[in-house]
C-alpha cells in the first residue's frame, strides 16, 4: 500500500461548470496505482467540485441556471466586499461539493458512463484554482 499527493492547477475559461475529468484521469494514471481511493479537495470557497452528467450541454446550462436561481445575486447580502458575485459564489459552493472520494480500479476512476468531474467556477472573473489530490492504494 502506498500513497501519492499532488495539486491540480485549473483555470476555468469563464464562470460556470467545466469538465476536468481528463485532467484528473491523467494525474491518476501517472501514479501507477491499480486499485485504491482518490480524494479531491478544492482549496477555495468560491469554486467547487461536482460529479454530474458529462454529455449534454443543455443539462449543464440548466444546472448553471438553477444554481443562479437558488443562490442569486442579491442586494440583501451583508458580505459583498468583492462585488455582487462574492456571496453567491460561496452559496453555490455549499450547494455543490468541496471534497470528492472516488474509488479506483485498474488504474482508472470507477465513474459511471455518464459521470464527469466538473470544476464549478462561481466568480465572474475566473482565477487559477488549486485542487489537492491524494491517491492511496496498491
Amino acid at each position: 500500500m502506498r500513497q501519492a499527493s499532488g495539486t491540480l492547477l485549473v483555470t476555468a475559461p469563464r464562470q460556470g461548470l467545466h469538465l476536468i475529468t481528463d485532467a484528473v484521469a491523467g494525474w491518476v494514471a501517472g501514479q501507477g496505482v491499480g486499485e485504491g481511493l482518490l480524494t479531491l479537495m478544492i482549496r477555495h470557497t468560491s469554486a467547487s467540485l461536482l460529479i454530474q452528467e458529462n454529455a449534454a450541454p443543455a443539462a449543464r446550462r440548466d444546472l448553471e441556471n438553477w444554481l443562479a436561481r437558488i443562490a442569486p445575486e442579491s442586494r440583501d447580502f451583508e458580505h459583498d466586499d468583492e462585488g455582487p458575485d462574492d456571496m453567491p459564489a460561496h452559496l453555490r459552493s455549499v450547494l455543490t461539493a468541496t471534497t470528492l472520494s472516488i474509488p479506483v480500479q485498474d488504474g482508472r476512476m470507477r465513474l459511471g458512463t455518464w459521470q464527469g468531474i466538473y470544476l464549478c467556477e462561481h466568480r465572474r472573473q475566473p482565477s487559477g484554482r488549486e485542487i489537492a489530490a491524494h491517491l492511496l492504494g496498491a
Copy 2:
C-alpha cells in the same frame, strides 16, 4: 493494511428515498476489516446517496417533498430528452450526495444511532443502480 472493492446493485421500489443501510453493513461485514474507511460512490447522475434520519417515515416524506419544491419539475428546462423528471433528477442529485466516506470500527460503520444510508431514486421509473464500494483498513 489491505483493501477490498465491490459493487452494490440496488433497485428502488419507487421514486424517493430508500434505506440501504443493511445492504451496505452486510458488504462491510463480509470483508473482514475491523478498523478502516468505507467509501461509497453511486455511478449515476439521476440517483444519489444520503445519510439522514433512519426512523421517522414522516421525516423521509418531508425530505422528499422539500427536494421536489427546491428542484421542481418545470417546463423551463432545456434538457428534457427523457421527460419532465429528467433534469430535476440531476438537480436533486446535486442537493444530496454522490460520494460518502464512512469510518469503520469493529467491522461496523460508525454511524450515529439515528443515521441511515439512503439510496435516493430521483427518476419516476426506477432502474438498477450501481454503487461502487471501497474498503481500506486492517
Copy 3:
C-alpha cells in the same frame, strides 16, 4: 501505512455555524502522521459539517440566513415531534455535509488560506455532537 480513529466532542454555543478548524488540526497533529487522508463524519442528522470562508463574520451570517430561507421553519412539515426547528435542521444538514475527506501533508490539513471547518448546529438548543475522525497515512 497506519491509521488512527477518534471522536471529537463539540458543543456549539448557539444555533448556527461555528469554526472547529483548530480542534480538528490539533487532533490530526497528535496522531504523528505526515502524509495521509483525514475523514470526518458527524454522527447526527440535525447538525452537519462544512468547509467554507473562515475570515468574514458577515459571510457566515449571510450563509446562516440563506440556509434559513432555503429550509425555513414552516407549518407544512409532517415531522415536528421535537418542535418547529426539527425538520428544518434535517434539511439544512442535507444542504451542507455529513462527511468530509481532507488530504494531509506535513502533518497538516491541506486547506486553502480562506478555508475553515465549521460545525453547523441546526437546532435552537445545541447539544453535544460527536464527530468520528479517521486518519490514514504514514
